[in-house]
Point group: C2
Chain length 377, copies 2
């Protein structure tokens, strides 16, 4: 179901302004006006308690109208939907949302405000789903290119952690990569919380250190790319490709992962989003900000693999980035766990050198972070 | 050679004030006045080029008077000195300094300002040593307990990175551990610099990615402890032990590492510092802030070992801390390298649980960080 294709409303406005301006207006103000922040804020919420015999408790019981209201808090909107038996996938005006039985994923770019969703989301969980606990929250993102353009809540990771700690006082905040360069921030709960009324949480009566969902395999691969090949990025302008399907095919996105049912959107005048669903309930999602001055592509999937070398290589070959940031996040039950614990990430093609490599243990999950950069030519 | 034992001059002043104040004055201001920051700032500078055939170039050629002046920049002073054929070891009013042929280590606690030493130090290197390059700089520390009491340059890691970047524009800054809790900051150069006049540096004519000293094994183990057993800490008050030697013996510090020649100082009315030298040129240094309200002990050594499990256990058994922060930093030539790369740090006694575990690759060095905490009793 496609609702409309008005992605990046703020962006589009700026693009239109750009069209009417002279090329040589390059003051700082103009640069800011011609900018779109591709970097996504990624919010993942797990609720529970998980009980495979109880099929009634389900985040997908939240009504669509309530989700539309929720997206207003985040300053974006739903523009397309696909469902499998295990997950509902939404393309948003700014990136994507995935809702399965006990996991809610909201990934939004631009100047969206996903942290502002949380109280309403928790209220909806309490009202509609039968779940009584927040098992886990993971909030993560790459450093912004222009943090000053963000809403106050998101202007720095310190501000975001403050907002999260106001809701969840015992979270842990990490920075992988360089504080003074490319990096990837993560906030994670260090214990589950009980859902109270009014979108609030409180301590659990019987605190548990390991949430039950952690016995299920869970893994996420993210490949975040910047400084991309302009010829590839050109495909994600409507001037080059008439439809999203054409952009998906000509770029080779359709060949990245086999057996994926694709919901793709090509925005006006440029920009691309794709959600893909697999029969096993896994998802893949790709978001592209193609403008040369601030090109950005993110690839994310929760497909379990014991080695992500091939998929990372295919993604990099497809988009030809100048910089590649890879994170693999896997719990102990996941077949990707060993990959997340091993410190020798597959080297990319010889054009790339590894700038940073880090590992972090996060309450039952193993996380590896690596930054690759093209050698200067 | 012992010069005097006036450690912690600021501290002593505060302690004296405390003596004349009533016990029930516990306003924030009073708390601040009764506080001493045990957390050390650790600055390690490697100069070069290293050439084993050239024995003339040597940091130990810097005259003592010049070192005394240098310490003024850092707001501390030399109070005791020992030398081996490979290293000069200084006990300072606030912690320690070690100078070997091409490595300078300055570790200072309290409200000292070691970053302010760097320009003068580089000038002294240029003037006295024959070295022409800065091969590496590592600046690291745990998060402060009371950052607001620090000099402006050191009030936050952001401020420190800014000061370092003003001198060395291409450094990399990391935070291991939690941005919103216990953590350990590191700034490291990502390339060598040429020594210019006036304590400044510039780009090398022929940039080298790996500094020659990196072919020599190099490793550092740090064990930083807080919330220590008051009965153990009591030993480091002059009211309990008449001499430093007595404190060293009764605490078991003399048994921690065999074959170490110890230079120990017990401060008035409390506090302890120890430098130890081994015949192979290695050092060990221990610094103790024993007051219950802000107890802090650091243990550091560059003794090479393929496994630090035993020494860490001995140190923890000796001081009985509530929290233990361990870092192992080793280059590729070091026998400790595998230990730094392996992600299973030895678990401490069953009283401790591992809160954080991280790994970071830093330009030829491998670094592992772990935080252990006593289980709530």
């Amino acid at each position: 179901m496609k609702d409309k294709q008005s992605r990046h409303s703020w962006h589009k406005l700026r693009r239109k302004q750009r069209g009417s301006q002279q090329e040589d207006l390059t003051s700082m103000k103009e640069v800011a006006e011609h900018f779109f922040e591709g970097v996504e804020k990624l919010l993942e919420v797990w609720v529970g308690p998980y009980d495979h015999r109880n099929q009634k408790s389900d985040l997908r019981n939240i009504p669509r109208e309530a989700l539309d209201e929720l997206m207003e808090d985040a300053k974006c909107e739903i523009i397309s939907t696909r469902s499998s038996s295990l997950v509902d996938a939404y393309v948003l005006s700014e990136s994507s949302m995935f809702i399965s039985r006990c996991r809610f994923i909201l990934k939004t770019c631009g100047t969206t405000t996903p942290l502002k969703c949380i109280p309403r989301l928790l209220g909806l969980v309490k009202q509609h789903t039968g779940f009584t606990q927040v098992e886990d929250i993971f909030y993560s993102r790459k450093n912004f290119r222009q943090p000053s353009l963000q809403d106050e809540t998101h202007r720095s990771f310190t501000a975001e952690v403050e907002a999260l700690e106001n809701m969840f006082p015992t979270g842990q905040a990490y920075c992988l990569g360089r504080l003074n360069g490319d990096c990837w921030y993560l906030f994670a709960l260090d214990r589950p919380y009980a859902l109270l009324g009014g979108g609030r949480v409180g301590p659990l009566a019987t605190p548990a250190l390991a949430a039950p969902h952690r016995h299920q395999p869970d893994q996420t691969l993210e490949v975040v790319m910047t400084d991309l090949e302009p010829e590839v990025m050109a495909l994600f302008h409507q001037s080059q490709c008439a439809t999203a399907a054409e952009a998906t095919k000509r770029s080779g996105i359709d060949q990245l992962l086999p057996g994926v049912r694709i919901d793709d959107v090509l925005f006006d005048p440029c920009g691309y989003s794709m959600n893909g669903l697999l029969d096993n309930g896994c998802y893949v999602t790709i978001h592209i900000t193609p403008e040369t001055e601030f090109s950005y592509v993110s690839f994310e999937t929760n497909i379990p693999q014991s080695c992500y070398k091939d998929v990372i290589s295919r993604v990099v070959d497809c988009f030809k980035p100048g910089k590649v940031l890879v994170t693999v996040f896997a719990n102990k039950s996941s077949e990707a766990n060993e990959f997340a614990r091993q410190l020798k990430l597959p080297t990319l093609r010889s054009e790339y050198r590894q700038r940073d490599l880090q590992y972090c243990s996060v309450r039952g999950y193993d996380l590896v972070y690596a930054l690759f950069e093209e050698w200067p030519s």
